[in-house]
């Protein structure tokens, strides 16, 4: 089951800031869902391969031929902060 520290760690991995109130609110709901997930422990899956792709398709490719790009304007059209054609983001440190 998830405790407060676990939730903080997961919140960091998921990059979702969680207030103290959030942590209080979410922990019981998350744990009840995890409890529900543990139903699967009853399933016998020895020797069963996981299914990653439901269709048996392989080798889908495209040719090395340019198909065009967005214009710089289109590419930046939804960015709230731009600088000289670059997308402006907060400092790293």
């Amino acid at each position: 089951m998830i405790g407060k520290k676990d939730l903080e760690h997961i919140g960091w991995l998921a990059r979702i800031e969680l207030s103290e109130e959030d942590k209080e609110k979410y922990t019981p709901k998350l744990n009840s869902v995890l409890d529900y997930f543990s139903e699967l422990d009853k399933a016998e899956t020895e020797g069963v391969e996981p299914t990653y792709h439901i269709l048996p398709m392989n080798n889908i490719f495209r040719d090395d031929v340019p198909t065009g790009s967005l214009s710089q304007e289109e590419a930046l059209s939804n960015s709230p902060k731009i600088h000289d054609g670059f997308i402006k983001a907060p400092r790293m440190m």
């Binding site: 495209r62 590419a75 000289d84 402006k88 907060p90 790293m92």
Partner: protein
């Protein structure tokens, strides 16, 4: 036997950008973005816009197999792309499509010249992945007030080549990088001169301790410097009674130091899982066909040069260390004496090029051919040949023009004889000294002859002429 006193273990991760492909790895954006404005070679896929989907570039897979084969790896029959989940501004989707289990090739090696002879460096794997975008900071990364992002580079095909930690010194690391780059150049799938074409992350530990990962290395020299710094840094930590921690460090090229990037994001849990939007690849049967198309690789070419042209192994090694140089040499050796060509291309021309920071593209093979012809026909002196090479590189023109302009045609025998006689007459003291046993006195006589012939005489011939006239 190399002692490796500090117990240095170095592993290198080299990212080769397949910039000779026409398009990126998962979308049809063109790859020739280098001189274009930022964010002008992007599409919904490489911009990571919601709803976009990747589709694999077939040529990128072929190139990946080529590299795997050239590195003596086993190419897998079944390979799959994975998501590596982490957050960084240059990563538009919040994950990188890369390979994890079932990489396209693994278990290879390359041989380099180690500290104590030939060293086989293991290649753990060579796999495919996509390039993130490019970040620009104001000043250094730790002081910049903001981060600027250009996604032109995002989605370029990368091959990540991971070595075993078999290198024991920064010099061996440098040689590994040189050799690796050489091999990849031979495959003609990347242009190493373009920005971002080859990037290195280095892992180093000493005395069996934890390893530091160093990022942001962009040159082979930089790698060597970064590793030298790290060894000193790590030794200092130990000397002070501390413990080297496992961490990521950023190489500052200007100051030649590594800076700790330690922050919360150290706890990397990439949560790899197979990319649901890309179906697996079954590529058995591709490898043999591609192997047949592989060009002659550096080691094979080196052996052939020795055999075919009768040159020394040292010359062969130097000439094959760069593809362009090897091609240049062979072109010259087709028409001129191969052994002379080896000396003049490898020992002389290469030195002059290095001094001027030029590549062999700056010199015409016809010119080298002419120069060697003149030398072989004893029409010019060695000094003259060097002069011609230097003038061609600095001013241009052609060998014949320069020979004419500077009057470099070797002076005829009797002119030398005359000059020798005059020199003997005019320098009696030197003659006496020499006859008395002072060997070095001959040099001033030779110098006098050279002066009289304005340097055009062959120094050796002048010496012989003088000795003859002195009755020696």
């Amino acid at each position: 036997m190399y002692e490796n006193p500090d117990g240095v273990m170095i592993g290198l991760e080299v990212h080769v950008q397949l910039n000779k492909l026409k398009t990126k790895v998962f979308c049809g954006c063109s790859t020739d973005y280098h001189n274009d404005p930022p964010n002008s070679h992007v599409c919904p896929v490489c911009l990571g816009l919601p709803g976009s989907l990747p589709v694999i570039n077939k040529k990128a897979v072929e190139a990946a197999i080529k590299i795997g084969l050239a590195l003596n790896c086993k190419v897998e029959e079944h390979t799959q792309f994975y998501r590596k989940n982490y957050y960084y501004p240059d990563l538009p989707k919040g994950f990188q499509i890369t390979q994890y289990d079932f990489p396209i090739s693994s278990g290879g090696y390359i041989t380099i010249e180690g500290e104590d002879g030939e060293l086989k460096v293991g290649i753990t794997r060579a796999h495919m992945e996509e390039d993130p975008g490019r970040l620009v900071h104001e000043g250094t990364i730790d002081k910049s007030k903001y981060t600027l992002i250009d996604y032109n580079r995002s989605g370029m095909a990368l091959i990540e080549i991971v070595s075993d930690p078999d290198m024991r010194s920064p010099k061996e690391a440098r040689r590994y990088l040189d050799k690796l780059r050489n091999i990849v150049e031979y495959l003609d799938i990347f242009d190493g001169d373009l920005e971002g074409a080859l990037r290195v992350d280095a892992n180093i530990s000493i005395m069996g301790g934890q390893r530091a990962e160093i990022k942001n290395i962009s040159s082979h020299k930089g790698a060597e410097r970064a590793l030298l710094f790290e060894i000193v840094r790590q030794k200092n930590v130990l000397r002070r009674g501390g413990v080297v921690v496992q961490e990521t460090r950023h190489f500052d090229e200007a100051r030649e130091i590594t800076i700790s990037m330690r922050s919360k994001e150290e706890a990397h849990d990439y949560r790899y899982f197979p990319e649901p939007d890309l179906v697996p690849l079954r590529i058995s049967g591709w490898a043999p066909a591609i192997k047949a198309t592989l060009p002659e690789l550096p080691d094979a070419r080196r052996m052939r040069f020795v055999e075919q042209y009768g040159i020394t192994d040292d010359h062969a090694k130097a000439l094959t260390s760069e593809l362009k140089l090897a091609i240049f040499y062979e072109d010259v050796a087709k028409k001129a004496d191969p052994k002379m060509a080896a000396v003049w291309v490898c020992d002389v021309l290469k030195g002059e090029l290095n001094y001027r920071d030029l590549t062999v593209d700056a010199f015409k093979k016809e010119h080298m051919h002419t120069i060697i012809e003149l030398l072989a026909g004893k029409k010019i002196t060695e000094d003259g040949a060097v002069d011609i090479i230097r003038t061609l590189l600095d001013k241009g023109g052609s060998p014949d023009e320069i020979v004419k302009e500077k009057g470099l045609l070797k002076v005829e025998g009797d002119i030398v004889a005359t000059a020798a006689e005059e020199a003997i007459k005019e320098n009696p003291q030197a003659v006496t000294d020499y006859m008395a046993g002072k060997e070095k006195a001959l040099n001033s006589l030779v110098g006098a002859v050279m002066k009289k012939t304005k340097g055009r005489a062959d120094a050796r011939a002048a010496r012989e002429m003088l000795l003859g006239k002195l009755g020696q």
